[in-house]
Every structure is written in structure tokens, then in C-alpha cells.
Amino acid sequence: MRPTRSTVAVGGLAILLALLAVILADVYLLVGAAIVGAWLVGRQAAFLRELIDLDSDLAIVQSVDDPTVAPQATTRVTFEAIRYAGERLRCTIEANAPVAAQLESIPQLTLIPEFNEARTDTTITWPVAGRHRFKPATITATDGLFEETLSKGPRPTVTVHPHGRRTFHVGAGGGRIAGAFGTHRTDATGPGFETDHLREYVIGDPASAIDWKATARHLETYVREYAAETDREVHLILDHRPTTDIGDPGGTAIEGLVSIALAIIETTRHRGDPLGLITVATDGITAHHHPTANEASLGRMRRHLTDLTPTRTSRHTARSPVSAPTVDRLWEEQNPFTDTLRPFVTDRGAYRRHIEEQPLYHGLETTIHRRHGPGLVVLLTTDADPTELRETIRLARRHEHDVLCYLAPQVLFDDLVARDPTAAYERYVDFEELRRELTAWQGVTALEVGPHERLAEILEAGRRRRTVVSA
């Protein structure tokens, strides 16, 4: 509580009266000094009371319209203050934007007696990647004699991540989809918010379930059933092997996949579903976050994803997708060919062991062993190894999980379309066949992820080829 110049002046008056009392040896002037001092103490006590009321009844809003942005992006910040007490005080309220924020002027609000609400909007540019947190607003309150500075208000966080400088296409067969990841329903009824249906009352139904309006309309007692809502565990499995390190700077496959993973984390956070994250590289699992809806844990997942880079070494080799059944049938036959080859093949479990050693498959296997009940597995990978992808999805389906697969086709990230548009289109068609094959499986949705412009070039190449063929 700092005194202003007015307080110093009043204090000076009291001292002056005391000095005159000493000089003139008159106790009456000393009583005058006592009265001035008492007035000052009374004002200070009133200011403190007003300040305490203000501290408890002042609402401050500091909110950003988009908490996750790309570097150099701008966000709109709303800064608002409403007070319900401390109305005699003049308050200057200043927003405390993070150091990395670039703004034209610091948002500032002033509340004066009889004006108890103020609001301002401003635009902030974020040039630096990272997590930037606002500090509480600084409130300077004064009644003219005393002033005090308080800190109050929410601390919104803006995450500026280097991934996502380019916007990615997410869709199927070159078309966009509005959203593959959303709310989920169960077939059961129970406690919830969404009305499922009305039915006649039966003995045993709770009285609170009676829908009185429907009862009045039908002249029968009706109860309202609600669709049961459940928390479904979501397992994100993100591939960051060297095969994801393709594409132009700012628009690589790993950046596209990470952007989607971050978006999924935001969606599950809003819905309150538990979410787990596994990231896999060439040598296996690089991070394993168990399913949780805890805000701090989700924040750790976001940070992990923001810092994620593709691994540099690769010992990955793909095996033919038709090798296993073919080899199995081969050993059942007795002929000179198989007799000659049999010693070179150690055992019939070799294929299975190979698949189980694959990072994506192993990552899913790890998390599946830890959970109970069907959930949603979200795979974020490339189309570099269709065999591993198929086997991983099969594993998920064996455990009755739904699978949402975001695939970054390598053809959408390399420069083949510039060199040989026709070859690029054929590779895209191959990918599309794989995607359709996967989507045809029950409980599986496969989507493509890639740069808009590269996809447009490939589709244009396809159109040109069809035109030439038809001509």
C-alpha cells in the first residue's frame, strides 16, 4: 500500500501542526495534528476494505481465440474486466502478454467510479515457436491517497508449434472430409444428456425420469430415456521413423501427422476421453504415455509431439505381403523343390516374429495388453510398409478396437510429380487401392494426409492422362 503525493501532503500537515505545537508550546495544535492523523488512518482503513472487496469481486477475462497456432500467425486476445465491488477505486488493469508475443500496444483497461466494466480486443503475432503463457493481469488501484498493485486473472497458454506451417489435406481419394474423429454413441441407454426416446412408465422407474410434458400430452405416464455416454479410450500410435522424414521443409510427412495428433489430443481433451500416446521409431517405442484424461498428462503429450523429430537411422526392410501364406502352403508339399528349400527356412514362426518386431505392430501390442474393452486406435504413419500396416490393423481388430488410420502417402511428399507426373499418379492410385482395401475392413477408416498443392498436381496429372487415353 503505497502513499500518493496527497498522503505525503496530509502527513506533512500533521507534522507541521506538531512542529508549531512545539514552537508555540501549545497542546491545542498537537491535538489538531492528532485529528489530522486520525483522519488519515480512517481513510487508509477504508481504502484497505475497498481493496479487499475489489480483490474478491473483480472478474478479469484474458482469452485467446486460438490456443494453438503456427509461427507468425496472429491470434485475437480478449481482455475484459468487470467489478462488483470496490467501486470507489480507480483501477488501471494491464494485460501481461508473454515476452515472445508481438503486439501493437499493451492492452489496458481503466475502471473509474460509476464505470465498472471495460473490454478491449487486440491482435497478437507469435513469431517464436514454443509454449507461451500469459501472466495474470496487473491491477493498480487507487483512491487518490493510497495505491496498491495486485495480480489477478486467468493465464491462457498459446502453443506455437513449428509443425503446421503448411495446411495439410486430410481426406479420402483426393476429396476432403469434414471430420473423422468425433463423438461416439453406445447402443445402451442410461444417464446422459442426449434424448434417446420416450416410453411408457413401468413400475420401478424412478420418479425423476418421468417426462411430465409428454405425460400431459399423452394422458399416460411417460419416462424419457437418454443415450448413455461413455468414455472411450483412444490410443494414438505415431510413426516417426525415417520414412516420415520426407517432404518440403514446413510440410513434411511427420509435420502433417503431428498436426493431426495434436488436433486429436485437443478433441479428446474437450470430450474428456482418456487418451494414450505411443511414438515409434526404427528401434522400437520411443515414448509411451498411458491413457489418461488428466490435463497435465495431455500437456506432456503435446510437448512430446511438438518436440518430435524423425529418427535418422533405419534398419527397416519390408517383406512381401504374400510371403507368409505362400510359404506356409509351400512346406505342406513334398517335392524336390521344397525338400531343397526347407533347410534354408528355420521355422514357420519366422514371419510372425518378424511382424511382431515391427515398431508399429509392437507399439500397438504393448498398449493393447494394458487395456480392457474396445477403444479406438488411431494410427498415424506412412504407406511405406503396407504389410506391417495391415498386420497392425488386424491386431487392433482382433481386440475389437475401431481403427482410424491417417496415412501419409509417400508420393504426396516426394518430388516425383515434378519429374514424372504419370508415374506419380500411378503410385497415388496404388496408395488409393491400399486405402480403400483398409477402409473396406469392418471398423476401419483410412484417410490420406498430404500437402494440398501436391495432391492437386497429382490429380491434375491423372486427369490429363485420362483425357489423352480417351482422345
Partner: protein, 163 residues
Amino acid sequence: MNLTHYRPTSSLNATTLVTDWPSYLAIAILSGTLFSFAGTSGLIVATLTAITWLVLGVPGAIAIGHIALVAIVDPTLTDIAIAEVGFVSLVLATAIRDSQAMTTLIATTLALIVFATIAIGATTIFPMWTAASLLIVTIAVSMYFIHRIGLVHLGLIHGGETA
């Protein structure tokens, strides 16, 4: 940072002139008490006090009123007691119209009792300069005490250093 140029409870304000009836009543009481023992001289002091109150506010009015009374009237102890009723009523009148009236009234009254006791009591025991020093120190300590209470209430004390 000084946010406002404040004139302590100055009454030169159209709204205040209408609504500040307790202060006008206090000025009337002050005029009556001063007139009762000093006659016309007392009225001159009361007029000076009222003008100062309108221009500078309560603290200025108290200071000028006391100096003028000593200079013009030279009161006895009984006169002082009567005159102070008027001045105290002026101080309490400003407290009544405060938005935190109860807090202001209680704090002002308590401070008045303590400070006046020290001012009058100390002069009977100590020399005037000691009594004056004691009063000023008491006022300063009281204000520091309220300041510390404020820091605790507002949570502005962020832990002490540990050994």
C-alpha cells in the same frame, strides 16, 4: 505512478455540494461551538475553516482551523474541549458518506481516541517536543500496521527466507 491528482475530500463539486449534508451540519456545529466561547472571533475562525474545507478538504480545514484559533482566540483548556467537538464532527461527517462508512468510522474513532490521549497525556508527562515526536511516531506505526494487515489479507507476502 500517481493515477489521480487528488484533493482530499474537497467539496468544490456540484454533486457533493448537494449530497454532503453531514459536512455542512458539521460546519454548523463547529461555528456554534466556536461562537459559544469566542463570539465573533470564533465565527471568523469557523468561516476560515469552512473556506479551507471547501478548497483543500478536511485535513487542510483542521490545520487552518487550529492555527487560526490559536492565533486569534488563544483558547483555554475548556474552550479547546468545546472547539474539538466541532472539528471532530467534521472528520466524522466525511466518514459517514464514505462507501466503507462503518470501517472508516470505527478506524477514525479509534485513532482519534488513541492519538488524542497520546497528544494530551504525553504533554503532561514529557516535554512538548517528546510528546509531539511520540504522536507522529504513533501515527506512522498505526499506518504501517494497517499496511501490513493489507499485505496479509491480499496475499501479497510471498513467504519469508528460511535459514
